[in-house]
Symmetry: C2
Subunit: 340 residues, 2 copies
DNA sequence: TTTTCTATTTTAAACGTTTAAGCATATATT
DNA sequence: AATATATGCTTAAACGTTTAAAATAGAAAA
């Protein structure tokens, strides 16, 4: 790779100092009182030599990299890649670039990624935190590194964050199932201590209670992220055999939904007649299930834009009060829940 | 954000020179003949102060950023986000980090992204090039900047690249449709001059010819990326009304397939009885269409790993001969094509 | 005792920027 | 004529590293 043109080259070309060139390139001629003729010459040579500033050098000097580190569970999950797309666009509008990493819900990988990104001097983080990463996030906060949590959050750690009201969203979904006459409503959740999941479960339980349905332990199934398919298969088997034990199912994420739907598809269970279904998040696949799947939709647009807005605010104003953006979730009803 | 600990701080702490600290931190004690006691002290202080190297400074010195720039059409497309995930993992194994951008198939955005990434001194690019970006890619090549093209490529520009044999893959899919008795086979493609698409179309036509089916212009439909839905809707209307004009459909990408399937879903057409279907690429949604969709699968694993391998090779050996990795594509048959 | 090693440590320059401060020269103000 | 002010440009230091070259000190060899 040929050496790139630097300020030095332009300066040498014209026999002037690097300083002068820097001023002109950065449009500081006025303040620096650069002569108009020489300024014009500098600009001309810069164009001719096709000068491109070295952002690495700029960063070293300024301490700013204009880079945001994005850490999610898995960039190939459509929920996260959708958010990543919005974040990318929004960040670039503000002159930022995004480096990303997938934690696979592992605290260790999460820490690795944070370290790598920190050493690369990212100006801020947008993180969908994995389980047991409270201390990691806390450490960032203590070092005054801008962090915005998305999707999940930690009540114990004061941070900027963007998320929905999980309790209320789950409540609404399950309440709808109950209101349409379902009496035995199961839920498939992740096995995690993350509060957003706990809240979804609590919303589910609260909706049951409100509808005078006595919650049964067997209805609430949890899958471990590290072996989803196995856990989901077992859970479904328990609920579907020897006969269908429930008349409705609420899925806590799109990934869980997809796994479960595959099994339901093979099982001969009729949706919504035998089983009503509502999922969280969106997925292309929901449209193509024979009974298009109803879902609790989070606006990834709002999440992405909110996150970028917050992180840039925080970079600009490190001491300002933390704020949470609560994004609206809305229930999209289709035939899987028994269309009205 | 508090100032980070630098070599200088460690040096000051111990009253030694920065150089010495640098040698120890980089495990160059042997070559630099650093005294063992002082080396130990330096290591200890580094740990105590929690020293983390500033990669920006390192980069400025070395001219290497250990960063790969990834440009795809749209990171939220599952095909690309899947590849991005593989690239991320593979790159990190080799100490690289990935910054990404979506071109939206626009040459202008593509150029913007290249410039931004270049100014940030990425060590190499992995690009799924948009239409009319030959010159851009060529310019990178001429500046000896490592580039690997994925998914698409330009015959006129000598580059490293990873792709499937598009002609053969399309041929195989369409040949299967013909072999199972379909006589009127339509294809939905993108309206683009990109060779990979042209080859898919040619593969389609060749398969028709080979099966003694006379190609009709009306069967080949093209959608513009900028207004897919509109174009697909029009194309489908033309083929489905007033009566179904064809008995099989081949989709050139997963995005096109999803759009078309939505319409087919609403239309009352029975798949595969009235219409057999094969798509390119994969998609969660294919599993849930009432007749699970057959598809020509490209291994995103192979594409991602191949791309990273090639770009790192190229970074290490700038002058070596260009190589193309041809990834295998395999036809996955399910009921949409009329299960055997 | 002077010279020559050898072992350890420091100096200095470099990567490509930014920017405060300084230095001429010319022009304007007393 | 002396002084102040403007104008145009350069010097130098800094950001945090790396690394070749030089310096220092002590021990061994002459």
């Amino acid at each position: 790779m040929e050496k790139k043109v630097s300020l030095k080259d332009i300066a040498a070309h014209l026999g002037v100092s690097i300083t002068l060139v820097s001023y002109v390139i950065n449009n500081k001629e006025k303040e620096a009182r650069v002569g108009p003729e020489i300024a014009e010459k500098i600009r001309k040579t810069a164009r001719e030599l096709n000068y491109q500033p070295n952002l690495i050098a700029k960063s070293l000097k300024s301490g700013k990299t204009n880079t945001i580190g994005l850490i999610v569970a898995d960039i190939s999950n459509p929920f996260f890649s959708g958010i990543a797309r919005i974040i990318e666009d929004e960040a670039r509008k503000h002159g930022y670039v995004v480096i990303f990493g997938s934690s696979d819900e592992s605290a260790e990988k999460s820490q690795d990624l944070m370290n790598v990104f920190l050493n690369r001097q990212v100006d801020g983080f947008i993180i969908a935190p994995a389980e047991h990463t409270e201390q990691q996030v806390n450490a960032l906060q203590n070092s005054n590194i801008p962090v915005v949590l998305i999707d999940r959050y930690f009540p114990s750690v004061k941070t900027d964050c963007v998320h929905i009201n999980n309790f209320q969203a789950a409540y609404q979904a399950v309440d709808h199932l109950a209101a349409s006459g379902r009496k035995k409503i199961a839920m498939m959740a992740y096995e995690t201590t993350l509060p957003h999941m706990r809240e979804r479960v609590e919303g589910y339980k609260a909706a049951l209670k409100e509808n005078d349905i006595r919650f049964k332990n067997a209805w609430l199934r949890k899958a471990n992220y590290q072996h989803i398919t196995k856990d989901v298969t077992a859970a479904m088997a328990a609920l579907l055999e020897p006969v269908l034990q429930v008349d409705a199912f609420f899925f806590a994420t799109n990934t869980l939904a997809v796994e479960c739907l595959k099994i339901i598809n093979r099982s001969g269970i009729r949706v919504p007649d035998d089983l009503a279904i509502i999922s969280f998040d969106e997925n292309d696949a929901f449209d193509f299930f024979y009974a298009p799947v109803s879902y609790m939709s989070q606006s990834i647009e709002d999440i992405g834009k909110g996150a970028v807005q917050l992180v840039i605010d925080r970079i600009k104003h490190p001491r300002k009060k933390h704020s949470s953006v609560v994004v609206e979730a809305k229930l999209v009803l289709r035939s899987s829940s028994g269309k009205k």
